[in-house]
């Protein structure tokens, strides 16, 4: 009797996984199509434990969404508004200072900074923003600006992508998040986000960023109109770029939230889909160190379960998550360190507080000295 899989078709894939043989596009599709959720999960868990054992990472972070004004107005977004709309906002540098100072007593290690493509900011705003954060939080790492924003900033500054990155790096940029990738399908892009940079451009920018020594994450927005084939192709495109640069740190599947968007007729993603996207990413992205279960999008409960389906990172404590909550997310807006550690321990894993580059700050409640274990990704 086969105790590992209900779907025998998974056996061949498992043989590859055990031997470390890279999975093909067809394997990826089979993984998406099988009803054997736990079979897929078991394989992903195998890979996850080979890489990370029982460790489950999180970061003490703060989100800053500096503006919701965006000229792109993608159909899947509930966050963006036009400049004259009610609720439109832009945080000036002194607003940013206030938000940072309001939490200055907390041990924030990472600032996650993303925003809309504001039509009338100049490049200095962005370098000032970074410098301000570095001044107020000198030891925290800044993870800021998606590939989409970098493309926009390059246009604003009149500088090449390389020079834009170089200027931002000088101002304090440590890392970039992986947002804005959506699904790299021209078909989907034309329908949902025609103004946003195309997939190949997103990849080109990421390649330049990696070559400039800035690591980034990567994402995929799923659960809207994309096909399973488009998902697999997206993951394979990321895997190919990673082969060339090694610059991706974590992959984060992003569950689409439709409320308050032009696609509000679409139902929420299901748990099966959420868990499968995590597990399949873990299996296909054999050259990525980390797979995140982003609790804001899939909920705290499922994110905890996802630690058994290939995820090794729960993202951050996050203070003031705005973007997904505009689209109807019912998760908390922030979790405390205790919440985070309890979630991880209750699932049978060891909580590891990390910095942006996965340097270990605290393992199982015990601080690790600066000269102690260091991670990778920097």
């Amino acid at each position: 009797m086969n105790r590992l899989f209900r779907d025998d078709a998974l056996k061949d894939i498992y043989n590859k996984v055990k031997k470390g043989i890279r999975l093909s596009r067809e394997d990826g599709l089979l993984l998406y199509k099988t009803p054997d959720l736990n079979g897929v999960g078991r394989m992903a868990d195998h890979v996850r434990r080979q890489r990370h054992g029982n460790d489950a990472f999180y970061v003490y972070n703060q989100h800053l969404n500096y503006t919701n004004i965006c000229k792109n107005r993608c159909l899947f977004c509930a966050y963006a508004v036009d400049k004259d709309d009610d609720g439109a906002y832009l945080w000036r540098i002194n607003d940013i200072e206030k938000r940072l100072m309001a939490r200055i007593d907390e041990p924030v290690n990472e600032l996650h900074i993303v925003g809309g493509l504001h039509p009338s900011l100049d490049f200095d705003y962005f370098t000032d923003l970074l410098k301000t954060v570095k001044r107020i939080r000198p030891t925290a790492k800044i993870k800021a600006f998606t590939s989409v924003e970098i493309d926009y900033l390059s246009n604003l500054s009149g500088l090449s992508v390389e020079d834009t990155i170089s200027e931002l790096k000088k101002a304090g940029l440590d890392m970039m998040p992986g947002g804005g990738a959506e699904v790299m399908s021209e078909r989907v892009r034309k329908k949902l986000f025609p103004k946003k940079v195309p997939g190949h451009r997103w990849l080109e920018i990421m390649e330049a960023v990696h070559r400039a020594g800035i690591p980034t994450n990567a994402t995929m927005l799923y659960g809207h109109i994309e096909t399973l084939e488009e998902r697999v192709d997206h993951l394979i495109a990321l895997r190919e770029l990673q082969d060339r640069t090694g610059g991706f740190s974590a992959f984060i599947p992003l569950a689409f939230h439709s409320q308050n968007t032009a696609l509000s007729h679409l139902p929420a993603t299901t748990a099966v889909d959420d868990l499968k996207n995590i597990a399949i990413a873990r299996l296909l992205l054999d050259n990525f160190d980390h797979i995140k279960a982003y609790w804001v999008m899939i909920g705290e409960k499922l994110a905890q379960v996802a630690l058994n389906y290939g995820a090794d990172d729960l993202d951050g404590t996050i203070i003031e998550e705005r973007i997904t909550h505009e689209a109807g997310a019912t998760s908390a807006k922030g979790l405390t360190r205790d919440d985070m550690e309890r979630m991880i321990r209750d699932a049978g894993f060891v909580p590891v507080e990390r910095d942006t580059f996965y340097n270990v700050l605290c393992r199982d409640g015990v601080a690790v000295s600066e000269n102690g274990t260091t991670g990778h990704g920097a």
Binding site: N38, R42, P267, D273, I298, L302, N308, R342
Partner: protein
Amino acid sequence: MKAIESIIDKIYQNVRITIDEGFFLFNHADLLTLAGMAEHKRFERHPDRLITFVVDRNINYTNICMSGCKFCAFYKTPESGEGYVISRESLHEKIQETLDLGGTQILLQGGMNPHLEMSYYIDLLKDIKANFKIHIHGFSPPEIAYIAEKSGMDIAAVVSLFREAGLDSIPGGGAEILCDDVRLKVSPNKCMTGPWLEVMETAHNLGMKSSATMMFGHAETPHHIFEHMDKIRQLQDRTGGFTAFIPWTFQPGNTRIHHPGTGAAVYLRVLALSRIFLDNIDNIQASWVTQGEKIAQTALFYGANDLGSTMIEENVVASAGVDFMLPEKELRRLIETAGFTPHQRDCYYNLL
């Protein structure tokens, strides 16, 4: 590792596991190992990829309760003046709405209300049966034990009277944890383990069916969970009267127990182990009311074959600040997108 492997072998060989073996798996087995065994047991018993549900409504005839359980956010004390007893008009309206929505049963439960006499309950049941063709799943064991004590009757007499008046089956509520050391801590005024089991055994012997529940994640230790399930399993060996087992987690909002709440991983471990441990109970129900629809869907891969009720109305868990709503259409979608076929059932798990 060897110990785990030998227990796993027993499970695949259909040998019953002991309390200590269940407890050992709870502490040491990987989540997906438990899931795999629970799925195996589920498909052995129910080879079709069907997930059942019932369309019903929770009707709480009163919220006035003497029990004052520490985990409850629903009750009002008799002295508070804030309680209610449902009016006949409102009751009829709720039942008619249930029938109009395709409902087949009501879950009729209430507090241990000192102002209600035996005649109230008998009239209530007769009135419903006289006016509606609907299954009454009602009066959990603590209510029956309380009514028996208050009226100086024995449990068997009350169950018989209720049955004659129209009670069809008994919900497994109020079981909490069937260990008196835990009950004394969280619900000292409610019936202890003995009477709870006695009500069920009596009802089963009269030919009535019931469900069994377990509320965990409060004052119990994990070992209590297996003691609880063992008591259910033993009774089931004698009567075969339990249709389903429904584990659910304590919801700490608005209650007097300070507990951070039980996470999904522990819920799924317990759910899977209930499918594995309770080798004589047909149906294991996932609790979307306490877990939300994502974990309820995940639970279908942890041994659950039933999603309980669409719950046109639910008040008790909602008072603890947990408010998951799941209309039938959504319930069906949740089942279908997990690769299963939804099917409405009645209280006896007959397909409709």
